[in-house]
């Protein structure tokens, strides 16, 4: 196997890791497409996916220690969930709101990722409420001396919410091991980023809280990974938070309920399609001799097989029993 040093620009990743990175990105893409397809077929009333965000999501999560570190994602983070270890089956079970879906057993919307074992925190829909949760998790990690890092994700729209200010301020004061990842796809549904902030790079806000902020090309998975790796290092060594802005683009409508042609041009979308992080990383892998077309095709075939199997499993899995709707309002036997 090609050793680390031999791959220039690989940010210290070896062949196996690089292929895993690609596989996970492709899996994220394919799971998103599958969910939207199922939705169009009338299977699952709603789909929200992250096509286009794969490099930003997988690249950041790849720098973490799954099950030890914490991720506090938002609804678009299929790539984050998969990188940390949730399976296509977990996500498709959630998409079809099956009773055994680990995310919520059909109580939360799809793409509201959750796994207690994997430290993937269940989210809600109100944008950015999860950001203080990540800071609280990081506070506990510091107070308990656990060495765990918490990473939370939100969009450019989410950056406008007051909770983000309050949470980042506290994280800065106490130099907490937390990383703020903003997936800046330049739109909050239809609202362009120029109507959301008067600055070029939202990462500049980190300076308002006394910690570093970086802006990276969110479609360059290796650049994203390297930024995340450095942030994790900082966090783990007690140097406090980092804000990472990954500039990217949503290649699909906001959700299955959205018609993005109402607010952005085909030309703009096409231009970004040419910057597709998957195509780009595949080219890089081929150029650097990490994988040839054949190897890539094998990876894709393997992933598609898994997704087909997961789909079939989920479609045949049982739905929740109606009366279970009354359970878990309070911790059972808790008092």
């Amino acid at each position: 196997m090609v050793s680390v040093k031999e791959i220039s620009g690989a940010m210290g990743l070896n062949t196996e890791q690089l292929l895993k990175l690609y596989e996970t990105m492709f899996m994220a893409r394919a799971v998103g497409e599958r969910e939207r397809m199922l939705n169009r077929m009338g299977k699952g009333p709603f789909a929200v996916t992250g096509e286009g965000h794969e490099a930003a999501q997988v690249g950041t999560a790849f720098a973490l220690t799954p099950g030890k570190d914490w991720v506090v994602p938002y609804y678009r983070d299929i790539g984050v969930a998969l990188t940390i270890g949730m399976s296509p089956r977990d996500l498709l079970m959630g998409h079809l709101s099956r009773s055994d879906a680990i995310e919520s057993g059909g109580r939360n919307m799809p793409s509201h990722f959750s796994s207690v074992e994997l430290h993937v925190v269940s989210g809600s829909a109100p944008v950015s409420t999860q950001v203080p949760h990540a800071v609280g998790i990081a506070l506990a990690s510091k107070l308990r001396g656990l060495g765990e890092v918490a990473v939370t994700y939100f969009g450019d729209g989410g950056a406008s919410v007051g909770d983000v200010h309050e949470a980042m301020n506290f994280a800065g004061i106490h130099k907490l091991p937390v990383i703020f990842v903003c997936e800046n796809n330049q739109y909050a549904i239809s609202v362009h980023v120029r109507k959301q902030m008067a600055i070029e790079n939202v990462s500049a806000r980190a300076a308002a809280y006394g910690f570093p902020g970086v802006t990276v090309d969110g479609n360059d998975v290796l650049a994203v990974y390297e930024a995340a790796r450095q942030a994790v290092e900082r966090a783990r060594s007690g140097d406090g938070p980092t804000f990472i802005e990954a500039k990217t683009y949503r290649l699909v409508p906001h959700t299955s309920d959205d018609d993005d042609s109402r607010y952005r041009s085909k030309e703009e979308v096409d231009e970004w399609r040419r910057k597709d992080p998957l195509i780009r990383f595949q080219a890089w892998l081929e150029e650097h001799g990490v994988a040839d077309k054949k190897a890539i095709d094998e990876v894709r075939a393997k992933v598609m097989q898994e997704i087909d199997a997961a789909t079939e499993f989920a479609e045949n899995a049982p739905t929740p029993a109606p009366e279970t709707a009354l359970r878990h309002v309070f911790v059972e036997g808790g008092d």
């Binding site: 809600s124 109100p126 959301q196 109402r262 929740p320 009354l326 309002v329």
Partner: protein
């Protein structure tokens, strides 16, 4: 008269008011593009960026900035994309909009309107389905309207926008495109605080609002035909201030009261209606003041199976009427 849906008349009503009064303007998320439910469709094109303003994703600011603009001569019409997302603005609504007039001894006032889609039944899960009227109907200084049908919606939206007080205008999102109603093209308004008797009856008074009015009317129909029970269905339309007199008058006539609401039962707005009837119409009661609402779980789980299990529907309401009638 044209047959219109609820969402169509909201759009019409907004257009009328923007044309009628230069001081009005709309602010909210995605409103320029027309809004996720298309309530503001076409308004940006007609009125431009000074009258239809896209806001950053920040509900406290949407309300707080509306309050400020209202102090300086404008009549803001704020849209909160889903009622579930109004919570970050709770402080601005409760501490500021609702209390400004009182705390300033009547010298300042805050004529803002906050529109938002609420209610369940669309597989929206626990964050696109909530009823929020109970929180706000408790707050002095704030008016709260819940509409579930086109005719009422248009007349009340105009009254809300013209009211000199802060008004929370809740539009049931499941009713947006559920049915059409005859709605006059000509200007009309409906007074805030007045209920509507949607069906006359002599055996039981059913008090409700929002989408539950439609479900209740269906249930009343069933009871009439199947059991010969005559139900008077009152749609409050405004929950704060609510039409106590009209409700008490009906209960004094029928002697039985059933309150139906969509929200989880404990501490829901229907509790206030029931408590008032129990105190002020006690001598006339021939049976327990009964409530039908959702159980105490977060409204509503996403799965259609779970959602249907928790929400009131015509069958559950019919069952409740039957039980009370047989008392």
């Amino acid at each position: 008269m044209a047959e219109k849906t609820l969402i169509e008349v909201v759009n019409d009503g907004l257009r009328d008011e923007l044309r009628r009064d230069e001081r009005t303007f709309i602010l909210g998320e995605d409103v320029a593009e027309g809004g996720v439910f298309k309530a503001t469709e076409g308004l940006f094109d007609e009125f431009g960026e000074k009258r239809v303003i896209d806001m950053p994703l920040a509900e406290a600011a949407i309300v707080g900035i509306s309050i400020g603009a209202s102090l300086n001569g404008l009549l803001p019409i704020a849209e909160i994309q889903f009622a579930d997302f109004i919570h970050p603005a709770f402080d601005q609504i409760v501490s500021e909009a609702a209390r400004l007039h009182y705390r300033s001894n009547g010298t300042w006032s805050c004529p803002i309107t906050i529109r938002t889609p609420y209610g369940a039944g669309i597989h929206g899960g626990p964050y696109h389905s909530q009823s929020i009227e109970a929180f706000y109907a408790h707050v002095p200084g704030l008016k709260v309207i819940c509409v579930g049908s086109p005719y009422d919606a248009k007349g009340l939206l105009k009254s809300a926008i013209r009211d000199p007080n802060p008004v929370l205008f809740l539009e049931h999102k499941k009713a947006y495109r559920l049915f059409r109603e005859e709605v006059p093209e000509d200007e009309y308004t409906i007074p805030i605080g007045k209920a509507a008797v949607k069906r006359e009856g002599s055996d039981i008074t059913l008090v409700t609002y929002g989408l539950m009015t439609r479900h209740s009317l269906e249930a009343a129909e069933t009871l009439q035909s199947e059991d010969g029970v005559s139900v008077e269905v009152i749609d409050l339309r405004t929950v704060s201030p609510w039409d106590k007199e009209r409700v008490l008058e009906s209960v004094r006539k029928t002697g039985k009261a059933l309150i139906v609401y969509e929200d989880n039962i404990t501490g829901g707005f229907g509790a206030e209606v029931a408590a008032t009837i129990a105190e002020e119409a006690f001598d006339y009661l021939d049976g327990p003041v009964t409530r039908i609402a959702s159980p105490d779980v977060p409204i509503a789980p996403y799965s259609g199976i779970l959602e249907e299990y928790v929400l009131p529907n015509p069958a559950k309401i019919a069952e409740g009427i039957r039980k009370l009638a047989g008392y």
